[in-house]
């Protein structure tokens, strides 16, 4: 079973400077100051490693919040 809270933690772990408290299911991740090509590629790698789902850059651009991304990954499982 994929759990949203665990997904948010995994997501947050790809960031160095953003506080854990800034991440919730409603977080619009592309608006985070630390959001960059590097964090985007880290999210793709994390999703591949943890959930065995291969995302493309455009998949991530197509969603807004962390929960949206969670749902997208879940739908691809």
């Amino acid at each position: 079973m994929m759990e949203l809270q665990k997904f948010i933690t995994n997501f947050a772990e790809q960031f160095e400077d953003t506080k854990m408290s800034e991440f919730s299911k409603e977080t619009v991740f592309s608006e985070l100051e630390e959001w960059s090509s590097m964090t985007l590629l880290s999210i793709i790698a994390m999703v591949d490693e943890e959930y065995e789902v291969t995302l493309k850059g455009d998949d991530i651009r197509s969603v807004t919040t962390i929960e949206d991304l969670f749902k997208l990954v879940k739908s691809r499982k």
């Binding site: 590097m38 985007l40 790698a45 991530i60």
Partner: protein
């Protein structure tokens, strides 16, 4: 009239000819009258390249260069050559902390070990004529600069460039020249793997002084120069083809 830039009647082996740069090199060399032996993994796509070649007497050889024994087989199937163009290669885009030794090995196998073994076998079996030309398709990445999440690819291309220098020295006595071409981003299928979004690609293109990515043919023309007798005093060199990217 004697044309020093001619590659007419030269016999060439081109690996990685199923797509992108390798395919373009095979087609352009055939147009200029060379006889080309093309190799690649995917038979269907290799046949597609083969059907686009100009002239006859070319051959295609299906081989997976990630398998050591297929590299050996390939070296045995080709006749005596005037040149090799090592194009087979691939990329794994991963932030360094997500990479594994296995990822590195897979890429190094095709990008570095395969062309190294192939070249050694061809020399040992005396399949390279005196005065022949060996060309490696390297990259700007790992030689002049790098990109985020590119540690695997950069390492493989850095290794290739080191090899080019040392090989050029060791093969000089046989009058065999060894050079690389180092392209920046080229419009090929490698880009459509998709980890990089279209938006990011558009941003990246802006960083090129000439405001576009290169075309495969623009790499092929430099390779043709290195294959021709116009470049007989060039060995151990790296030709940078990057639309000015590394100037900034």
């Amino acid at each position: 009239m004697n044309n020093p830039f001619s590659i007419e009647n030269k016999v060439l082996l081109i690996t990685g000819a199923t797509s992108g740069i390798g395919k373009s090199i095979a087609i352009e060399c055939s147009k200029l009258g060379a006889t080309v032996f093309i190799s690649g993994r995917n038979e269907l796509r290799l046949k597609e390249t083969y059907s686009e070649l100009s002239g006859k007497q070319h051959q295609y050889l299906v081989s997976d260069l990630s398998c050591e024994n297929e590299v050996v087989e390939l070296s045995e199937k080709v006749p005596e050559l005037d040149g090799i163009v090592n194009c087979a290669g691939f990329n794994k885009v991963l932030p360094f902390h997500f990479t594994t030794r296995k990822d590195f090995k897979e890429v190094m196998e095709v990008n570095f070990f395969a062309p190294t073994d192939l070249t050694r076998l061809l020399i040992k079996n005396k399949k390279l004529k005196k005065g022949s030309s060996i060309i490696f398709i390297s990259s700007i990445s790992g030689v002049y600069c790098s990109f985020i999440a590119n540690s695997i690819y950069s390492s493989s291309k850095g290794a290739v460039n080191g090899l080019v220098k040392a090989l050029a020295l060791d093969l000089a006595a046989k009058k065999i020249r060894v050079n690389s071409v180092n392209p920046g981003m080229i419009n090929t299928n490698i880009l459509s793997e998709g980890k990089i979004s279209h938006e990011q690609l558009q941003e990246d293109i802006k960083r090129y002084p000439l405001k576009r990515y290169g075309e495969p043919e623009e790499v092929a023309y430099a390779v043709i120069y290195l294959l021709s007798d116009a470049s007989t005093w060039i060995t151990g060199s790296n030709i940078l083809i990057d639309g000015g990217y590394t100037l900034l």
